[in-house]
Symmetry: C2
Subunit: 354 residues, 2 copies
Amino acid sequence: MGRKRVTMADVALAAGVSPTTVSLVLSGRGNELRISDAVQQRVHAVSDEMGYRPNIVSIGLSKGTTRTLGFVSDTVATSQLAGDLIKGALEAAREHGYMLFIGETEGDAASEQQLLDAMLDRQVDGIILASMFTRLRPLPPALEDVAAVLLNTLPLEPTTVPAVVPDEYAAGRAAARALLDAGHRQIHLVGAGPEAHAVSAGTVAGRERLSGIRDALAEEGLEPASGHVIRDWLPENGRRAVADLLTAFPAPGALLCFNDRLAFGAYQVLQEAGLRVPDDVSIVSFDDAPLAEWLEPGLSTFAIPHEALGRRSVELLLELVHAGQSGGPVGAPPGTVHRLDMPFLVRGSIAAAR
Amino acid sequence: MGRKRVTMADVALAAGVSPTTVSLVLSGRGNELRISDAVQQRVHAVSDEMGYRPNIVSIGLSKGTTRTLGFVSDTVATSQLAGDLIKGALEAAREHGYMLFIGETEGDAASEQQLLDAMLDRQVDGIILASMFTRLRPLPPALEDVAAVLLNTLPLEPTTVPAVVPDEYAAGRAAARALLDAGHRQIHLVGAGPEAHAVSAGTVAGRERLSGIRDALAEEGLEPASGHVIRDWLPENGRRAVADLLTAFPAPGALLCFNDRLAFGAYQVLQEAGLRVPDDVSIVSFDDAPLAEWLEPGLSTFAIPHEALGRRSVELLLELVHAGQSGGPVGAPPGTVHRLDMPFLVRGSIAAAR
DNA sequence: CGGCACTGCTAATCCGGCTTAGCAAGCGCT
DNA sequence: AGCGCTTGCTAAGCCGGATTAGCAGTGCCG
């Protein structure tokens, strides 16, 4: 510990040339600036032998770019579902030679400001502002001076900052479609509905899923057979809702649960009531929590494409960064909302209607 | 986007003093270097008004310290359980004014080397090398030149680098103790055992849990009633193991599962077999996955203290960093292994033996 | 045989802050 | 008047690399 790093000056000394020459050779401008092949080879050899690595901090100081991005989320890093969000971002960043600062605000505006400042102080090239669950939020003013992308978040007011979100509406449509295709006509919602906009406040995902579901049903001239607005989508609330449902509809043919934890609660209550999945009750859900795979039978669910979301947000951000540095063009117009497909994982929880 | 940052020179110009003076005043050395109160106040006022923030990159260049740490893991960021590991690290870092680079190696040595280099190139002050599950590993040579801490990982050979791990042995003892105290004498192991060292290779946690369990039983003159070595601790394997168990022991009084996913499999099979938790079968487990809380009845389990592990590793690392910078002393001797308590979360899965 | 272009390399400057040495003005003392 | 001390501030150099202007040496040409 504490052994000194090899600097360009060290290499220059060992190779018997000036630091300028080393810089030119290693940056590939040797031919352009007419450094002889002999010297170029010597510099490369000495540099490799000494294990020279350029100090990115120094480059950051003079060029103003650090090959570093900031990833600020409310609680995304700690969420059960969303580790893959970071994983996708991390991978995409590394593929482009960038590193990621990660920060969590816990939803606190002061923390957020502090975190953004800390990242800006470290000269990050761009910032991803992420949320654990899709939501609307105002854009912090600190983001005006830097390339930025919203992840799993939509801006409260129109802005030039692009956003990346899952396509919840399409998933809602497809979920209803899957049950309709299996011949179900009586579809009960667990978590929201049955009327339009009957969703607990603040959940963009719920609203869009419901909207997609209702539109798909409407195309067949149908309405949801029933629905329950639930504030927190937890197993115990799913249990309660489905228990209630069974008193009114002792044999519901199909359940559309607004997430996997609710579906888990449904499984528990159905099993206790002697109803079998999928023979008696078909179930479709959203999120693809790990749980979904562990249930018996496996739960068919629309996955939030966390890894793809993280990856895409980094790629968009890097596009912005490079465009900003070179003055070049950006692919999509400013403020574009990118909606990513939610893959349908078909497991054993759907059967044909009887 | 692109508005220029305020530099110290800007502040100096606006305040009508030299950059040196601004530096002295803002670093608190104004009195020491005899800057008049009037000038000091003016500098502070102008600096605040202009929203000046020092460029940490620049400081990093001259002082060699960036107030930044690296967090390199195999797959910890994406693991279901271990988001809290990062959360604890993130919080502790922020409390000390440090930021964290996060990187994932996916267990690949080349990726790891690349990631460590990328962090070292960015002049991190220290590095945490973490693992998703407790394991033994050799120390990469790149860590010799920098302050480092192992997290959830033990060095293969003696080293000066400290490590932070959960105290699995103590948890194993306490788990057995909890069942013994409830009067159980026939304790079946799901996931390992019954003999000493009967654990699938490479899992330090399993070995230490088993060791603690066997020691606690031995103190009462007991041995595990049965055991199953299981390679992957997944629900389906838990189901299979407990189904097998029930053919040999139709009424097992107590199950000690080596993690919560195995316990989940046990719940499923027991319920199908008409056995009730905890009235017919008591269950204790390890990990405190979110699942444990959602089961009916709730699963009593020993939590991996992820947040505390992350937090402690950062605190240890900062101790090393500061000791290295000031030449000062470190709390614990080099190479100390810090074992953190695994809290016992008592839910509804234990009843008195009949 | 002087002027010019070309070759091959280096000195100097900058990025933004920290650090150390040192300068000018004012004052008291002998 | 001359010396030294204190007060209040600044110039200059450094960290490690990128960039640009420019400097010797050589060969060619008129």
